[in-house]
């Protein structure tokens, strides 16, 4: 280059030696003209901008400060994040259940059954499961009140004591009104109160009265009591209007007993036969093998006719009242007679005359001492209707000066509540200890709120000799006070501490005789640990029936009941979900579908299709209907009408528990108060009205929210598989449908063909078995699942929009008289249908159709056979839900938490108080994601971690799903199908080995970790086997104890 003489110019400026060019000649790029350095670099600018953007956005989304205060001194046994369990007792009036409370970080979040209890046998009910949310009810009283003003306890105490003193001084009458009191210590506290104020009378009543039974036993045997029943020993069960599986007396206990008689297997091909005669289709009637619809005006005569049929067989004189032509009655009588001493007849009637005849029947059959235990009376219902009626009459007459309502609400739940309300206001002193400001508390001058049961100490004797304790699972949330302490304070007892009171009672009553060489504290701790205690319980004791009771009952029945009444009759029953109404403000129960009608959040009368047509009532599939006005006993209510298959013609049914007016936002003004329609008959409250009932259509439309709007089974064969006992005896695989797939040359079992390779589960293989024969359809599992998994409650309108969130539902199908193929006919349920219940939840398919369609792999298969949902990853295309053949996936259509729109229906996610009930182990799902049953994966994980920490294998029974735990009848069995010792393996008779050819071509038995395990139980089937999704949930066929073959479609 240096040799050349040529010069290459970069441009003309170089040639002309432009000064501007020379200045920048050494630079590759000409300066763009920014001469002055502003002192800030580009980096500074970016830094500043980045900071500002971050600061602004952070400031904009500042999270509200939530206080979390750590323990200064950590209490023993309380570890953050690790739940503690406390045995306790659920008591609501006379309803009782022994429970175990799960407490996490000081908050009770779940209630399970206590398997140590010989009364409730580890079962629970929907109401028990839901009760934990009532603890966090926003409507609870925050503290005592005088009138409508908040007060402190000193003020209330001094004023109440002063007034009690005044009344006592002038000899005025004091009444303490309560529901049944199961607690011996409470009785003692009340006794102390009575001792101080001797004009006090303690009046017990029950919102749903069983006084007729109590009276009938008094008349029949000389002792007023209600005996224990043992359905488990009964081969033949006849119930005339008693809904003993859901509302009657002690349904948790009865369900368990009943289920033991309904279990069948290859080795046990016998089951009880159950006849039901009733007007409304109850849950119990839905489970019956033979159900006959009767009118309430016939009830007494049906019982009398049954007596006469049996008397004829026994060769004793019959009674004059009778009724002929009642379907199935003769058959029932024949079988009862064959099973003398191994049968039971129960009646739901509260008419003592009817109950006397029922006693006579059981006496004839020799059932006392075997299925009915008069020596082991139960205390669930001790209410005295006559005393209560007398009290209200006195109060009306101004003869009562002071009244204390102990956890009862007669203004709402007594037929004369309205009169009582007026009378209360005129009294010198009126006190309510209700923990909410209910109708009665509102009428009272003083509100002295009791603790919620989960905050209280108490003891109970639900059944003679069977005791139990309740202990606080949380420090009282509000300034409430144990009612017994209030009574003792007002009585001037020096040490009113109820805890030591209970303890002392137990010390003197039980410890003295049963110390077992322990010191009292250890003994007491053990009692608390167990929660239950037995002392002096024996089933012995016999009774002798007085025949004179029968003759007076006969004439009473003859006068009251009619064989052929015309005109419409009204049947009033306890609600299957909200019960007697005391828990109406619990949205878990309001959104629990009624087991029969599947209605939620609504009150209605049920009537038969014929009566509906006659009245011009039309129901459509969407629950749209009209209002009717129902008049009975001088009262008229306006309520929606729902056509109900199985409803006796000429009758309408209505449930109690609705129409609360002072209850809180959840249930306020839902439905009407059916207590007002009640009347008295033979000294007790009568739960029907047989004359003077008027039902008229009102031209007003109404829509009832139902979670299931298609009622019949449409002749399908692979969803419910059922047969009769007669067939089952011949072949335990009766009723099984094995769908076959046609290949080009042969038919093969559907499950034998698959495009998928399947899975190998090398550790656990979770599975579930659900016995359709022992599932009664009660719905306790639905509530348990809701509580365990923080399932959102969406309210009536969203249910009408078919968007309820339940992970587990109970499908209820009615049979139809139509032939398969007649689809229009199949949509119409039979007049008195057979009913089938099927719990339906995520089936955890091994070839899950939801997993393949998710574009982002938010739902995947676990190495243990679970179909799992990753909420974080979900983008909400809903493709998985569409492709789910079982329709168990639930989408978050809205934000259900922290959203005022759902404040009323879902307080657990929308109020500070309610949020305390949420299970911290389960995410509250955000808007726009899919959710579904996880097989309680949090429980599986806890179980696995515990086993791992203890360096052992996970044992069967350590992991129990919430639904399984809640099931009183044990219809749900969950476990590891890879564990040959597990209950599920044994129940399903799983063959854990398969034959394969090894490398040498020899046949070899190897453990089968795959998805196609051979199931040996002939009753076991998978729903929709033909589509090959291979669920991990097996159902056991439904067997009805009917003669002959399955009849209906």
């Amino acid at each position: 280059m240096s040799n050349t003489t040529k010069t290459y110019w970069k441009g003309l400026p170089q040639l002309t030696n432009d000064p501007n060019y020379v200045k920048h000649a050494d630079k590759e790029f000409v300066d763009l003209g920014v001469d002055q350095d502003p002192g800030h670099s580009r980096r500074d600018f970016l830094k500043m901008m980045g900071f500002s953007v971050a600061a602004v956005s952070l400031a904009a989304c500042e999270a509200p400060v939530r206080k979390a205060i750590p323990y200064i001194n950590k209490p023993v046994d309380v570890d953050p994040g690790i739940p503690n369990y406390y045995a306790s007792s659920y008591v609501n009036g006379g309803d009782y259940c022994s429970i175990v409370v799960k407490v996490r970080d000081g908050r009770p979040i779940k209630v399970d059954g206590n398997s140590l209890s010989k009364v409730t046998l580890g079962g629970t009910s929907a109401q028990v499961e839901a009760s934990v949310l009532s603890l966090y009810d926003n409507y609870r009283l925050r503290g005592p009140k005088v009138g409508t003003a908040n007060a402190d306890w000193d003020k209330v105490d001094s004023e109440v004591i002063a007034k009690l003193g005044e009344i006592a001084a002038k000899g005025g009458q004091i009444r303490l009104v309560s529901q049944t009191i199961l607690s011996p210590s409470t009785q003692q506290a009340i006794a102390a109160f009575k001792a101080k104020y001797p004009t006090t009378q303690h009046i017990q009543y029950d919102p749903v009265s069983y006084y007729g039974i109590w009276k009938a036993n008094e008349e029949s045997f000389g002792t007023g009591m209600i005996p224990s029943y043992d359905f488990s020993k009964a081969n033949v069960i006849v119930s005339i209007g008693a809904d003993f599986l859901n509302t009657w007396l002690a349904p948790i206990e009865f369900s368990k007993q009943y289920a033991t008689t309904r279990e069948v297997s290859e080795d046990k091909r016998e089951m009880s036969r159950h006849y039901q005669f009733e007007s409304n289709l109850s849950l119990t009637g839905a489970n019956a093998d033979y159900r006959t619809a009767i009118r309430p005006s016939q009830e007494g005569l049906v019982v009398a006719a049954l007596y006469n049929l049996l008397a004829g067989k026994a060769g004793v004189a019959g009674i004059s009242s009778t009724l002929s032509g009642v379907a199935n009655l003769e058959k029932a009588a024949g079988e009862l007679w064959e099973n003398r001493g191994k049968s039971v007849v129960v009646s739901g009637s509260n008419d003592k005359a009817v109950q006397v005849v029922v006693n006579a029947i059981n006496n004839l059959l020799g059932n006392y001492g075997s299925t009915i235990l008069p020596g082991l009376p139960v205390n669930y219902r001790q209410g005295n209707d006559e005393a209560m009626a007398a009290f209200i009459a006195e109060a009306e007459g101004g003869k009562v000066d002071g009244v204390i309502f102990y956890n009862c609400n007669p203004v709402y739940d007594h037929p004369m509540g309205e009169k009582l309300e007026k009378a209360i206001k005129a009294m010198a002193l009126s006190v309510s200890t209700s923990y909410t400001e209910d109708e009665t508390a509102s009428a009272c001058a003083y509100k002295a709120p009791d603790h919620h049961y989960l905050e209280s100490w108490n003891d109970f004797e639900p059944k003679k000799g069977h005791y139990s304790l309740s202990q606080p699972a949380i420090t009282p949330i509000f300034k409430s006070r144990q009612a017994q302490e209030s009574f003792m304070t007002w009585a001037g007892v020096a040490n009113a501490d109820y805890y030591s009171f209970v303890q002392n009672n137990w010390k003197s009553k039980f410890f003295a005789n049963d110390s077992q060489g322990w010191d009292f504290q250890t003994w007491w701790d053990q009692r608390l640990y167990d929660g239950v205690y037995e002392s002096g319980a024996s089933a012995g004791g016999s009774v002798s029936f007085r025949n004179e009771a029968l003759s007076s009952a006969d004439s009473s029945i003859g006068a009251t009941y009619k064989a052929n009444a015309s005109g419409i009759e009204l049947v009033i029953a306890e609600s299957a979900t909200v019960g007697n109404g005391s828990m109406a403000n619990n949205p878990l129960l309001q959104e629990l579908p009624d087991p029969i009608t599947k209605a939620v959040w609504d009150h209605y009368v049920t009537l038969s299709l014929k009566d509906a047509n006659a009245l011009g009532i039309k129901n459509d599939a969407e629950g749209r209907t009209q209002l009717v006005s129902v008049s009975a006993n001088g009262k008229t209510v306006k309520v929606a009408a729902l056509v109900q298959p199985g409803q006796a013609q000429g009758t309408v049914g209505i449930t109690l528990g609705y129409g609360r007016t002072k209850v809180g936002t959840v249930a306020e003004n839902l439905g009407v108060n059916a207590y007002t329609l009640l009347s008295m008959l033979n000294g007790s409250v009568n739960y029907s009205a047989t004359s003077g009932v008027k039902v008229e259509k009102v031209n007003e439309d109404f829509q009832i929210a139902q979670t299931q709007i298609h009622q019949t089974y449409m002749g399908r064969t692979n969803v419910i598989q059922e047969s009769t006992l007669a067939e089952f005896k011949k072949d335990p695989a009766a009723g099984r449908e094995n769908p076959m797939i046609t290949k080009w040359d042969e038919k093969v079992e559907a499950a034998s063909l698959s495009l998928w390779k399947g899975h190998e589960y090398k550790s656990h293989h979770w599975g579930m078995a659900i016995d359709l024969n022992t599932c009664t359809g009660c719905g306790a599992c639905v509530v348990a699942c809701n509580v365990e998994n923080n399932v959102a409650l969406v309210g009536k309108q969203e249910v009408i929009n078919r968007r309820e969130m339940h992970w587990l539902r109970i499908d209820r199908y009615y049979s139809s008289d139509a032939q398969p193929g007649d689809y229009e006919g199949l949509e119409q349920a039979s007049e008195n249908p057979e009913v089938t219940f099927q719990p339906m939840l995520c089936q955890h398919c091994n070839n899950a159709p939801c997993e393949t369609v998710c574009p982002v792999a938010a739902t995947t298969h676990s190495s243990e056979g679970l179909n799992q949902m990753t909420y974080n990853r979900c983008i909400g295309t809903r493709y998985c839900a569409n492709n789910c053949p079982y329709k168990v996936r639930r989408f978050n259509w809205f934000k259900y938490h922290d959203n005022q729109q759902f404040y009323q229906s879902n307080p657990a996610m929308n109020t500070d108080l309610g949020r305390m009930v949420l299970n911290p182990e389960v995410t509250v799902r955000s808007r726009g994601v899919m959710e579904k049953c996880s097989f309680c994966v949090q429980r599986i994980q806890t179980g696995k971690l515990t086993a791992k920490k203890e360096k052992r294998e996970l044992n069967d029974g350590e992991v129990i799903t919430a639904c399984q735990a809640s099931c009183s009848t044990g219809a749900i069995v969950f476990g590891d199908m890879n564990n040959p010792e597990s209950r599920i393996s044994k129940l399903l008779k799983i063959d854990h080995y398969k034959t394969v050819k090894n490398a040498k071509g020899e046949e070899e038995r190897v453990f089968n970790y795959g998805i196609d395990k051979k199931i040996g139980n002939p009753r076991a089937y998978r729903v929709l086997e033909e589509i090959g999704v291979k669920p991990n949930i097996f159902y056991l066929t439904k067997i009805r104890n009917k003669d002959g073959k399955k009849e209906n479609a």
Partner: protein
């Protein structure tokens, strides 16, 4: 100047010269919009704004604003998606397949048809986007992007993911193809703008035409690229709707789980696409006075395509019923009986009437060459095709396996609003297109004039 063929009707009537073509088409772009354009455009904007309101409320509150429920997880959203995608098929079919088959009659309609495709695909794509519960995440989680989630990746098993690929591919290719064709025409407008002294317009259209110079070499490359793109798009015409049909065909739901869907969906797509092209062109032709370019002959040919595809669709419907009976699967049988006689019978019979019976009227030459009849029928066909998708989606879902979960679907204002929103997008975009872009492919139309002039002189 123009000559007419002895054997067939001329494709362009009115004796247009090459200059006439430039003048007629470019005039629309250059002149101030007509009053009728303003009215139509204004109406589209109103639709768009109302739709946007519904979309915003839905985004704010949640998918629950729509009428969907636990049983029917898709209804109007995916119905509209499939419907719009179907409409989007005509453009590519006309521009690609007819190009390969050298069907020259396509030349005056392909521009508008392709534009329609682009807009329809945009509308279609909005539904899978908005139907997601968490749109803000779905946008990128549904794409196979490298991420910080470790092994977390999209699920290649999912037909919805295939949709993402199918739609985006189709959209990109259609867009490129359409734009390619526009380049020489933009250059024409630029040249005219230069001649008329409109500097801004010249600048804009110059940029849009990428400085097209009209050299022979450029033309040659243009032709080659057009052919290559046509070749690329041809399989897309078949694949896109095939993949959309997989959303249903690969599922287990009776009424969805059927192998006939791919051909049936493709035929249906072409059917509805042609109907939509007709609806739009009949209006455009009238508004922009293009009767000489879009002639009765064009309309008749498109109507013949409608008869053919309509009949294919009809046979598919009947085949589905036959297979349901022949297959003897109870759930499948019920699904089809329920379609025809269940609570949504009216949707089914609307579909049958609109899609199977009404196109058969085009066997009458009088009707298929009648503008008014064609216009009405083209709308009826699209109503029918909407019902077809509704019937497939909703009536299959609302009553599937377990009778306990059966339910109904009732649309809300927000379902309707979402649909209106896409109409707003579509028409707003179409009217903007028809005002600012040459609605007929001038370059190609000029070639037909040339081609016909080479034929034997007649009369």
């Amino acid at each position: 100047m123009q000559v007419t063929s002895a054997i067939r009707e001329p494709l362009v009537t009115g004796g247009k010269s090459v200059a006439d073509v430039s003048e007629d088409i470019s005039r629309q772009v250059e002149a101030a919009p007509a009053r009728s354009w303003w009215m139509a455009f204004g109406f589209s904007l109103v639709l768009l704004l109302f739709g946007l309101y519904c979309v915003c409320i839905m985004l704010w509150e949640g998918i629950g604003m729509w009428g969907l429920n636990k049983t029917v997880g898709w209804a109007w959203d995916i119905t509209n998606f499939v419907w719009w995608v179907g409409i989007g098929h005509a453009g590519t079919l006309i521009s690609a397949i007819l190009l390969l088959f050298r069907q020259r009659w396509r030349m005056s309609i392909n521009r508008a048809a392709e534009a329609m495709t682009i807009f329809a695909v945009i509308c279609a794509a909005s539904f899978p986007a908005f139907h997601m519960g968490r749109l803000w995440l779905g946008f990128y989680w549904a794409l196979p992007l490298p991420n910080a989630f470790g092994s977390l990746w999209v699920n290649f098993n999912s037909p919805l993911l295939w949709d993402v690929f199918a739609i985006s591919t189709y959209f990109s290719v259609s867009l490129v193809f359409w734009y390619m064709g526009l380049i020489p025409d933009f250059a024409v407008i630029r040249d005219r703008a230069v001649a008329m002294g409109h500097k801004t317009r010249a600048l804009i259209y110059n940029a849009l035409s990428f400085g097209w110079d009209g050299a022979a070499r450029t033309w040659s490359r243009y032709e080659s690229v057009a052919l290559i793109l046509a070749g690329l798009s041809t399989p897309l015409v078949l694949s896109v709707h095939t993949i959309v049909s997989f959303d249903f065909a690969t599922s287990v739901i009776p009424g969805w789980h059927t192998t006939i869907f791919p051909p049936y969906f493709v035929a249906g797509a072409i059917f509805s696409g042609f109907a939509m092209v007709l609806t739009l062109l009949l209006v455009t032709r009238k508004v922009f006075k293009l009767e000489d370019y879009i002639t009765i002959y064009h309309i008749e040919l498109m109507n013949i395509v409608i008869i053919i595809t309509g009949s294919i669709v009809g046979i598919a419907y009947i085949t589905e019923f036959f297979i349901a009976w022949y297959g003897q699967v109870p759930a499948e049988q019920y699904a089809f009986i329920n379609r025809a006689t269940g609570p949504y019978w009216w949707a089914y019979w609307s579909m049958m009437t609109c899609n199977v019976i009404s196109p058969q009227l085009f066997w009458f030459k009088k009707l298929r060459t009648n503008i008014a009849a064609t216009f009405v029928l083209s709308i009826i066909v699209n109503i029918g095709m909407w019902f077809e998708r509704f019937v497939i989606i909703v009536t299959s879902l609302h009553r599937d396996y377990l009778p306990s979960s059966w339910s109904m679907f009732y649309p809300t204002m927000y379902d309707v609003g979402q649909y209106v929103f896409t109409f707003g997008i579509f028409f707003t975009a179409y009217f903007l297109f028809s005002k600012y872009f040459p609605v007929i492919n001038m370059a190609e139309v000029k070639s037909i004039i040339k081609a016909t002039s080479e034929r034997k002189h007649h009369g």
